[in-house]
Amino acid sequence: MSYALEIKDLEKTYKGGVKALRGIDLEVEEGDFYALLGPNGAGKSTTIGIVTSLVNKTSGSVKVFGYDIDSDLTRAKQQIGLVPQEFNFNSFETVQQIVVNQAGYYGVPRKEALIRSEKYLKQSDLWEKRHVRARMLSGGMKRRLMIARALMHEPRLLILDEPTAGVDIELRREMWEFLRELNASGTTIILTTHYLEEAEMLCRNIGIIRAGELIEDTSMKSLLSKLMFETFIFDLDTYENKPEITGYSSELVDETTLHVEVERNQGVNDVFKQLSEQGIKVLSMRNKSNRLEELFLKITEENKQEEDNNV
């Protein structure tokens, strides 16, 4: 199998001493849709920065479609399209100028770039705005502009650093659809996100970075199976006797809010049954949406156990 991205023992210590990466090993297969997940400051953008040569690495190696960034940088760069986390276009230039010039930096002649700009700006719903200066765009439009810009040279590997931050739900779905199609047509995609849901929706494989280390690198499926339980929140009506739930681990967070951990396949019927028997009315129920947090806790715990076993 050939790899779109191959990272070996990558370390980065910033000036001032921040150790952002502590030996990352990562492989992304050609054609994959890979999610890089992790909390703030974990080292996601640093990793991407090194791959795209915006950040100098301290040690380790990076290969893009087999081209080493140390010995074959130009070729490596040609394979990549980058959608950075922060807006970095010249906000005084027009939408079309931005994408056409960027294509030029990759050797796409102007005539061809103009044709492509129509395709990608239409796809991003920005064609009507092509003569508008970038700073006049809304946040979501700016993000789509950066995606269009990254696609102009038709890269084999598209890297998106939190592409859906600040994008409304409808557009987010459109973007997901678009990325899925792009992946289906053969482009390898790597994206970072804070939302497990997003990764779940899109990606086949997933890596989790925490404090500069890759603590998990696996398929989406097997990761989700690790998430054995889910926490549900019950809003209760006022009651006389405190609710008692057996068979589940539960916690009364305040008078009328009950958290219940439900294991996979366990079902919630029994919780309702027990509450009804105790004469307690459930006003509403929702699941606690910080599954990512749970996942981190779970994986960190596992890592700890492994370490303990090794001692």
């Binding site: 915006l54 950040v55 130009t74 760069k77 040609q78 970095n88 294509a103």
Partner: protein, 256 residues
């Protein structure tokens, strides 16, 4: 590869050119107004009382220096502010991630500086025609000094842009270094008029050589030998080019 670099250079040149044309009120108008004022005040009002300089009217004598002055400021500030603001906006990342070699990046910016300063130089020349007729002793020398000076100060501006951390840093050098050196570089007088000591001091000022060479192109009179003009220009271009190349290649202030 060559085709890629050529296309990339063209794109960068277009971007840089669009920039100074877009903000023409800031980039093209001020030097035209300033030099027009010089023409009126020094050339017309005061110049008449100064009499001849090396066989030319005072106005004729200062025109080349004034053109050169606007060329120097335009090329320097175009590149320094364009590069710095791209750095500031992180816009420079567009270039850093692309398969564009450092040489191409540098020439892209230099072309921007060249374009703007030639345009400004042409406008100033045009205005000078209202006051004195155009005369050219050696077109070769005019064009060579013009191009080389403009390249030199574009590179100097680039260096400033690389080191600059704030917008202040971009305006410090023009105000405190460039302007004094230009004024003392023989725009308004011939350094052969100076007492021996100050004449010697003036010779360390590289701008003296450029103005002298440029004026030679127009009028055929010199302050310093023409060969020296070319040697000094070449030397500074080579040095600045190398330093800039090294700094960008290693990513000073650009890559963390």
């Amino acid at each position: 590869m060559f085709k890629l670099y050529y296309t990339a250079l063209k794109s960068l040149a277009v971007k840089e050119t669009n920039r100074y044309l877009r903000i023409w009120v800031q980039t093209l108008v001020p030097p035209v107004i300033t030099t027009s004022l010089y023409f009126v005040i020094f050339g017309n009002l005061i110049g008449g009382r100064i009499g001849e300089m090396e066989g030319f009217s005072y106005m004729e004598f200062i025109v080349p220096g004034l053109i050169m002055m606007s060329v120097i400021t335009s090329s320097y500030s175009n590149v320094s502010s364009s590069f710095f603001s791209q750095k500031f906006q992180k816009n420079i990342e567009e270039l850093l991630i692309a398969p564009v070699p450092t040489h191409v990046i540098m020439w892209g910016f230099v072309i921007g500086g060249l374009g703007r300063s030639i345009l400004v130089g042409a406008l100033v020349t045009l205005i000078s025609l209202f006051f004195v007729p155009l005369q050219a002793f050696s077109w070769v020398m005019i064009i060579m000094t013009l191009l080389m000076t403009s390249i030199l100060f574009s590179l100097a501006g680039l260096l400033n842009g690389i080191f600059a951390q704030s917008f202040d840093d971009v305006s410090i050098v023009p105000t405190f270094v460039l302007q004094p050196l230009t004024y003392l570089g023989g725009v308004f007088y011939s350094i052969s008029m100076l007492p021996p000591f100050w004449r010697a001091v003036s010779r360390v000022n590289p701008i003296v050589y450029m103005i002298s060479g440029f004026r030679y192109g127009f009028l055929g009179v010199i302050d310093v030998p023409v060969l020296w003009t070319l040697i000094i220009l070449t030397f500074f271009i080579a040095v600045l080019y190398t330093i800039n190349w090294y700094l960008i290649e290693t990513g000073r202030g650009l890559r963390s």
